[in-house]
């Protein structure tokens, strides 16, 4: 594999966002994934979301584990620092990074092998701690880099490319995230960018652990009949509970919607998620209801997508730890070192 840099020359007519960046400023190196890989669509959605959010690219830190999905941070936000860590351990590295500097935006990218198998423990605990981050799992139900073994999110009874049937129960990361106390839980589909981009934007604006499970078909090993993570299967069984718009601040509703069809969630920074309900009964503030809904639809073989749960007022890890407002990595000797006089007092107390 070679490292491919994209040409840096921009068309002068490219539109710019509020910070003066073009969409190209949010891109990375050319992807080395297979043509048609769902993950590339997610990268494109990430680029689009950050461009539209007017975030300075260098204020994002992108972290990943190991696997096809974890390679993708090379392919977006080329002016951001990235960290391709250890298999299944991105959450702890991200947690440490977030502790060091609370002012950056943390984007964790992982896969189903990385998060549901080897890294299930770290997946659980990073959500419990409500680390302020966006955690995207690019979920294809299969180990791509090692050529097609089932992962822990593969549905029971689904078939591998070679024809083997999966006999183990799947781990539903969305249900698990809800049970673990994640404060923003969503599911998207790499083939539905109009739904995915606003989900990512809302997740960035959310304070606390925002988890998005993105079903992302593997064209090389899991896109055949009998797979429940193929483009065809997900398109046929996608059960979107809502569509959403994300606005940096509240804007008047100009379009007429039927009664009860629109719901607004105001996030801590003033950003607003406007949900257009596709299932009138679905309430994304009701965790128990959400879990029941997900279980019912999963039993029918449906893939529920949309913003499934949000608690906009949660206290994140820094709030729980009561850390100072200044990033810890900016503190200097006077802030940190008590000095020799204090040490003399310590000595005196130990005699």
């Amino acid at each position: 594999m070679t490292y491919l840099a994209k040409p840096k020359i921009h068309h002068p007519g490219l539109p710019k966002n509020a910070l003066g960046y073009t969409r190209r400023d949010y891109e990375g190196a050319i992807s080395t994934l297979c043509a048609g890989c769902g993950h590339d669509s997610i990268s494109a959605a990430i680029i689009q979301a950050f461009y539209e959010l007017d975030v300075a690219p260098h204020r994002v830190a992108k972290l990943s584990g190991i696997g096809c999905s974890s390679k993708t941070p090379t392919y977006f936000l080329g002016n951001s620092h990235g960290f391709n860590s250890v298999h299944g351990r991105m959450p702890s590295v991200l947690t440490g990074a977030a502790l060091a500097n609370r002012d950056l935006i943390y984007l964790g990218v992982s896969g189903d092998g990385d998060s549901a198998s080897i890294g299930l423990g770290q997946f659980a605990h990073v959500l419990r701690r409500n680390v302020n981050m966006v955690y995207i799992v690019e979920n294809n139900g299969v180990y791509g880099l090692t050529k097609g073994q089932f992962s822990a999110t593969a549905d029971k009874g689904s078939k591998s490319k070679r024809g083997a049937t999966n006999s183990d129960e799947p781990i539903d990361l969305v249900l698990l995230a809800l049970a673990l106390g994640a404060t923003f839980v969503a599911r998207g589909f790499s083939g539905d960018k109009t739904q995915l981009v606003p989900l990512i934007k809302a997740a960035v604006a959310h304070r606390g652990a925002a988890f998005i499970d993105v079903v992302s078909p593997c064209v090389a090993f899991n896109n055949h009949p009998g797979s429940t993570k193929s483009y065809d299967y997900v398109r046929e069984h996608n059960e979107a509970v809502n569509r959403l718009d994300f606005m940096p601040e509240r804007a008047p509703i100009t379009t007429e919607y039927p009664e009860g069809a629109v719901r607004e969630v105001v996030l801590h920074d003033g950003g607003v998620v406007r949900l257009h309900k596709l299932d009138a009964s679905y309430d994304p503030s009701d965790k128990v209801g959400a879990m029941a809904y997900l279980e019912e639809h999963r039993a029918r073989g449906e893939v529920v997508t949309g913003l499934l749960y949000v608690d906009a007022d949660s206290a994140d890890m820094h709030a729980a730890l009561r850390t100072v407002d200044m990033p810890l990595n900016t503190l200097n000797d006077p802030d940190l070192v008590p000095g020799n006089a204090a040490l003399a007092a310590v000595n005196a107390s130990l005699r």
Partner: protein
Amino acid sequence: MDARVKQLSRINDFVVKFANVNGSGSASANGLFAKAILRMGVPVAARNIFPSNIQGLPTWYEVRIVEAGWRGRRGGVDLMVAMNPQTWDKDVAEIESGGYLFYDSTKPLPPSKFREDITALGVPLTAICNATYTDVRQRQLFKNIVYLGALSALLDIDPIEIERLFSEQYRGKEALLDSNRKALHLGRDHALANFACPIGLSVQRRDAVGDRIFIDGNAAAALGAVYGGATVAAWYPITPSSSLAESFAKWCRKFRTDSATGQQRYAIVQAEDELSSIGMVIGAAWNGARAFTATSGPGISLMQEFLGLAYFAEIPAVLFDVQRGSPSTGMPTRTQQADLMSCAYASHGDTKHVLLLPEDPRECFEFGALAFDLADRLQTPIFVMLDLDIGMQDWLTEPLAWDDSHRMDRGKVMTAADLDAGRDFGRYLDVDGDGIAYRTYPGTHPARGSYFTRGTTKDRYARYTEEGPAYVDNMQRLQRKFQTAKNLVPKPVVTRASQPTTAGVIWFGSTGAAMAESLAELERQDVHLDRLRIRAFPFDDAIIDFVASHEHVFVVEQNRDAQLKMLLVNECAIDPAKLTSVLHYDGTPITERFITQEIGEKARLYNVTPLTGIRYPGSGIRKTGGKAA
């Protein structure tokens, strides 16, 4: 007692051992015992010997009263305070001939439970407490203070010092103060009325403690981390390192809490396991904070994969490894120095790590702070290797000191201004020839200086590559960096014997406590050894010179496999035949008697016949016949 056996008679030089039941509240009384003697100006070396248990199993506290100031264990017990029926037989057997046995005489014991050659001092502790207190818990807790009072009379410890300690401990809790004072005098009065006090062992006031302090290595190392500027700590509870993380929290609450807002200039996370704790440390350090974890051998094993990443991706990280009895769960509450190899070469592939080897709590503080400067300077994990004996025991140690002009060395970090000035940034580019490249913190500059950190191979500009030459180039630079580390870590301490000799001894860490005393004893026996104490890995060239300039070198360490010797042979190209191991690894701290005997015996082997004043070619160990026992 058998009249033919002479009662031990010693002033300020004896060993008292308390045999207790875990969870009976004895630790506090035993601590007061040691501290009262210190307040009388007489040094003590105190050690808890405790089980992996919260309540019910046997636990011991050994206090060596030693005016000469030796900090190691001597071996043997002169007075046993036998409060645990479970271990009675073993405890009684451990007393030196002519020694003393203090016990609760409420229930009569058959003569077979005693020894002819020791003096039994029975005090009806239970009866005294039952007559005085109605509350069951009080009866148990005050029994400890009653025996403390009795011992103060028997050993001539000034009760005023114990009362002062009570007042400091129970400031503002007058009721507790009075009841403790009462219990103390109950015991004291009983002993004064029933025994000729003091017995042959006694404490006499001296001025031999000076300004030294009494502190455990974990607390000192944690304070070092505060002074070293650590802001992020991630840890998973494991004996014997947990109190290091807990001490860090305590010191931070004291020194790092904003008085106006109550906000904290630090973050401590108790992780779900050691993989996560080292992951957090790596993430925080990558992002420019000073971060550490505290663990023990099993934790180091779990961190192996991440340690390879930190080495290869060049992330500063500080690890305090408080070593315990290994392998596996081993002896979790006993001491060993058995993680040298697993830390020096931690992880798969070609890796080498910097180890700091403190000998006592004072060096735990110094190295604890230094580790953060070294980690940032070298951009690699730094291991501070304590063990249970240093970490969890209170040691009498020189006062801690800090140079207020010291500023954190953040190492080679390129700033936004550097980048704007057009400086070439290659994350793995060796611009200075010392193997250390510049790094940038995430978020530094909108257009320059960002890079991708990865565990896979990369070129000098952090670009992914699978090209062999680029891989080799990077691995060779890491080797150069390790050479640079050699010049930055603490130098070994070399001391010459009082007479010229061609034999030497090498040790590190907590072994030093018993070593100092053993060397004095060996000199007395006319065995002369030059000394070298290793304080860090990679090894200084002075170590190679030391071995080269001696014909026999003893290597004293607390593990089975002679790990320090292995490292020396491997890293310094030393002929293994020159090195003779002295190994102690039963989980108890090495003693003066053990070292003296082992080296004494081996010295005799090398020395052929021990005849007065004769020097033997090829030995260099001068040995005087007759003196050596």
